[in-house]
Amino acid sequence: MAIENLAFLIPLLPALAFVITFFFGKKMYSGGALIPIGAIAISCIISVLITINLLQNPEEVVHQSIHWFAILNLGILIDPLAAVMLSMVTFVSLLIHIYALGYMSHDPGKSRYFAETALFTAAMLGVILSDNILQLFICWELVGLCSYLLIGFWYQKPSAAAAAKKAFLTTRVGDVMFLTGIIVLFSGIFKVYNGNLPEGIYVLQFSEMFNLIPQLSAMHTTILGFEVSQLTIITLLFFGGAVGKSGQFPLHVWLPDAMEGPTTVSALIHAATMVTAGVYLVARTFPMFMGAPDALIVVAYVGGFTALFASTMGIVMNDIKRVLAFSTISQLGYMMLGLGMGAVVGMEAVGVSMFHLINHAFFKALLFLCAGSVIHSVGTQDMRQMGGVGKIMPITFITMLIASLALAGFGIPGTSIGTSGFFSKDAIIETTYLFAEHTGNYLPYIFGIVAALLTSTYIFRLLFMTFTGKPRTDYGGHESPNVMTIPLSILAVFALLFGGITKKAFNDFLEVTFENDFVHVSMEHLAELGNYDLVHGAGHEPLFILWLPVIVGVAGLVISYLIYYKKVVDMSTIVSRNNPVYKLLYNRYYQHQIFIELIALKITYGLSLIGEFIDRKIIDGIIDGISDGTIAIGETIRKVQTGVVQSYATAVIAGVGLLIILLKLIVEVQ
C-alpha cells in the first residue's frame, strides 16, 4: 500500500488523540500525553515519507478529494510546499510535545493541555493539507480556536483570559477579511461561469481558482475612485487574513500578549507553526498574488515595516518571552517581505520565504524552549531579575546561543558555513536588493537591513542580560531534566545545520510547487497579466551586499556587548520614563491604548451603549408608552360613569341627538 493513501491520517491521528486525551486523559499516565505524542510521531513519519517520495517526483503530488455538501468538497493536497510544511510542523510539534512532558509535568490541567495541543496540531496540519480555500479557512479558524484555548490555558489568571480573548478577536478581524476574500472570489467565479457553475467541479479548489486567474484579473471594480481588479481585491483580502494570523502590522498586537500561555505553547504556536499559517496562505495562493502585483507590493511593505517596527520594541522589553514574541513578529515580517518580492523574482520568493519559515521554526522554537527552560528553573520571566543563568544551565545556554546566532544570521557569505537563519535571511535581503535594483525602490531593502541590526541587538541583549553577569536576585535554579534538554539539543542541531545543508535543494523543490498533476501555473504568464518582468539571477550581487547583513549582525552583537555586558553606557539615563523615545517604545507605541481603550472600549462599546439606549428608551419607550397611555385613558373615561342614573339618561338622549346630526352630515356628504 502506498504511503500516499495514508495521507488522510496525518491530521486525523492528532484529532483522534485530542478526543481520547480530552475525555479520558485524566486517568492516564502523565495526563494521557503519550497518545498525542504517538499520534504526532506517526503523522511525522508519514509526512516525512511522503516528502521523500515527492522529492523524487515533484509532479506526482498527493491529491484526494471527497464530496462534502452542495458545491463543496473536502480534500487533501500534498505538493512540495505542503510537504515541507507538514514535515516541519509534525517534527517541531513532536519535539515540543516531548519537551512539554517535562515542562508541564506538575500542572494539574496537563491532560487538557495535551488534548488541546493535539487538536492544534491537527488543525494546523489541516490548514497545510487543504486542497481548497474553504477547507483551509475552516482549519485556519480551528487553529485560532486552539490558540485561544491555549493562551487562556491558565484561565484563572485574568491576564491570560484577557490575552486569549484579544488574540482571538484580533485574528478574527483578519479572518473576516479572509472570509470576505473567499466570498468575493466565489462571486467572481460565479460571474465567470455566468451563474452556471459546472457540474462535478469544485470551484473553490486551488486548481480551479488558479485556472481562473486571468478572468478574475480582467474584472474590474471601482472603489473610492480607483479602478481595481477583482484579483487584487481578493488577494488583498486574503493577505488581510494572513496579517491577522501572522501578526503583521497592524494586527500584531495580540502576539506579545499571547505569551500568557505556557511557554511550550508559545514555542509551538506563536513561534513555529500557527503564526506561519499566514505566510503559508500567501504562499499557497501565490499564483493569485502573482497576477496582482499591486497586492504583492502591499505584502512587501507591510512585511518590511513589521520587521522593523517589531524589532524596535524588542529592544526595550524586559520580559524574556516578550522579546521573543516581538522577534517572532519581526521575523514573520521578513517572510512577508520575501513573498512580496514575487513581482520580481517569481517563485523564488516563495522559496526564500518558506526557507526562512522552516529555519525560523527551528530556531524560534529553540529560543522559546530555552526561555521556557530558564523560566521553569528560575521562576520568573523578568530578565532584570535574572543574570548569570548560563552558569547553572549550561546546556540551555549553549543551545540558546546557537539559536541566537541563527536568529541574528551569523555565517560566512559565499560558503555553506553559517547558521540556518543566516542562509534564509540573507536570501530574503538579497531578493530585496534585486528588487531595489530592478525597480529603483530601495525601501524594502532598507527595512530589511535596519531590522537585521536591531534583531541582532535585542537578541544579544537578551542573552547578556539573562545568562551572563551575576545573579540579580536570589532565584536558585538548576538545569532542566533530560526530557527537556534532549529536544533542545535536537533543535539546536537543526538550527545550526539545516539551512546550510538544504539551501539549494529546498529552493529547487519549491520552485515547482505549482507545476504538477493537480495544478499547472506558468509564472511567466502571470507576470504578463500583471504587466511586469521576472528576473533570475540571485546570488550575483556585489560582495558588499552579501556581507552587509552579517556586518550589521555583528554590529548588533557589539552594541549589546558594550551596553549590557561591559556597561559602557549608563542605562538608567535612557531607561527612564522621561525619555519620550523609550516611553514610546516601552509602551509599544501605545497600541494597547489605541486598540483596547479607544477602538474596543470607547467606540465599539460606546456605540453598543447608544444602541442599548435606543432599545430601552426609544423603541421600548414607544411600546410602553402606548400601553401606559391606553390605561391612563381608560382610567379617565371610566370616571364618566358617575353612577347617577340621570347622567346615563342624558348620555342616551344626547347620543341620539348627536347621532342624528352626525348621520345627517355624513349622509349629506355622501
Partner: protein
Amino acid sequence: MISMPIVSLMILVPLIGAVLTLFSKTKEQTRIIALVSSLAPLVGALYMIMNFDSSTPAMQFVESFDWVPSLGILYKVGVDGIALPLVLLAAIVVPATIIYSWGEDKQPNQFFALILALEAGVMGVFTSLDFFLFYIFWELTLIPMYFLISIWGGPRKDYAAIKFFIYTHVASLVMLLGIFALYFAAWAQSGIPSFDIPYLLEQFQFLENTVLRDSIFLALLFGFLVKMPAVPFHTWLPDAHVEAPTAGSVLLAAVLLKMGGYGLFRVMLPMLPFTGSPKLMISILAFIGVLSILYGAMLALAQTDLKKMVAYSSISHMGYVTLGAAALVPLSVSGAMFQQFSHGLITCLLFMSCGSIQHIAGTRIIADLGGLAQKMPKLTVLMLFGFMASLGLPGLSGFIAEFLVLTFAYLTLPGYVLLALLGIVVTAGYHLWAMQRSMFGVLNEKLGHLHDITNYETISMGILALLVLYFGLNPSPVLDMMTTNAEQIVSLMALAGV
C-alpha cells in the same frame, strides 16, 4: 398500503402526552410520560426523513380532509424540505429540554404539560398547509409560552409575559388581516373559497390590484418579522428571555422564533416575485436582515446579563435568515433555512448554559460572575462549545449556515453582505468578552458554594453539542432537502420575470 397519518400523530401524541402529564400523580411518572411522548415525534421525524424524497419540492406525507367546507377550510398537513428540518429540530429540542429540566420541582406536571403542548403547537405550525389551521397553531403556541414565562419566570415576569403575549399577538393579528385579504381576493378571483396555502400562494400572482398584493405581502411580512424577531420589532424578545425559565427560553429561541423564519420561506418568498415592486421588497428584507445582524450584535455587547446577551445574539443570528432569504439565490435561501435549523440547536445549548449558571450561581449578571471554570469544568466546556458555534466557528453548524448565506447572498446583495461581515467581529467580541468575565479569571468568592452541572444537564447539552458538530461536518442530510425547495422558490423569480 394504508399509510399511517404520521404527521397528525406528531401533533397529536405530544398533545395527548400533555394531558396525561397534567394528570399524572408523581413527579417520576410526569417526567417519564413527558419524555416518552416527546420522543415519539422524534421517532416520527426520523422515519419521515428516512422515507423522504429530497429530489422533489412537493409536499409529502400529506393528509387532507374537509373541515369547514362552507368556508373552504381544510385540515391539511404535510411536510416538504422547508418544514421537515424544522420538525426535526423541534423533535430534537423538546426532548433535550425535558431531559435538561429533569429536576424541575415547581409543579412539574404543569411544566412538562406546557412544554408538550408547545411542541404540539409548533409541529402544527410547521406542518399545516391550510392558513386557518396554520393560524390556529400559530396562536396556540402563544399560550403555553405565556404560562411558562408567567409561572416559572423571573422577577419581572408579569411585564415580560404580557409584553410577549400582546406584542406577538398584535403581530399575528396583522398577519391574520393579510390572510383574510388574500383569501377573499383569491376567492373573488377564482370563485372558490379556500384557505389552502399552496393554492393561495399560487393565486396571489393573479391578483390584479398591485396595491392589494403589496398590502397582503407587507401584512404577512410584519407578522413573521415580529416573530423572528427582526429589528426594530424585537424588544419583546430580550424581556421574554430574561424572565422566562430556562426551558421556556430554550423553546422560545430554538423553536418559536423559527416559526417566523418558516413563514418567510413558506409564504413570503413565493409571493415576493409577484409583489408590485420585488426589488423594493428585497431591499426592505435585506436591510432589516443586516440591521438585525449588526444591531443585535452591538446590543449583545452592551448587555450585563448573560441571558440577555444570548437573547440579542439570537436577534443577530436570525438576521442571517432574513438576509439569506432576501438574496433569493438557491444556496443562500437554503443557507438561511439551515441557519434556522442550526441556530435552533446552538441557541438551545447557550440558553441551557445560562440557565445552569443562574441555577447554580444564583445570578446571571456577568459582573457578578467570574472564574466559574474552576468549579464547573463540564459546563465551561459545553458553554465554550456553544459560544464557538454561535460565533460561527468552522466545523460547527453555525458556520455552514453563515457561510452559505454570506457567500451566496453576496452574488445579489454585495453591499449588504459586506456590512453583515462587520457583525462577525462584534459577534466574536461579545461572546469572548462574556466568556472571559464570567467563566475565566479569578473565582468570585461571593458566589458561595458551587458545583458542576448535573448529569441530566450534561447529557442534554452534550447531545446538542454533538449534533451541532455533526451538522457542522455533514450538513447534507438536512441541507439537501432544503436545497430542492430553495431552488423551486428561486425559480419563481424567473417565472415572474424579475
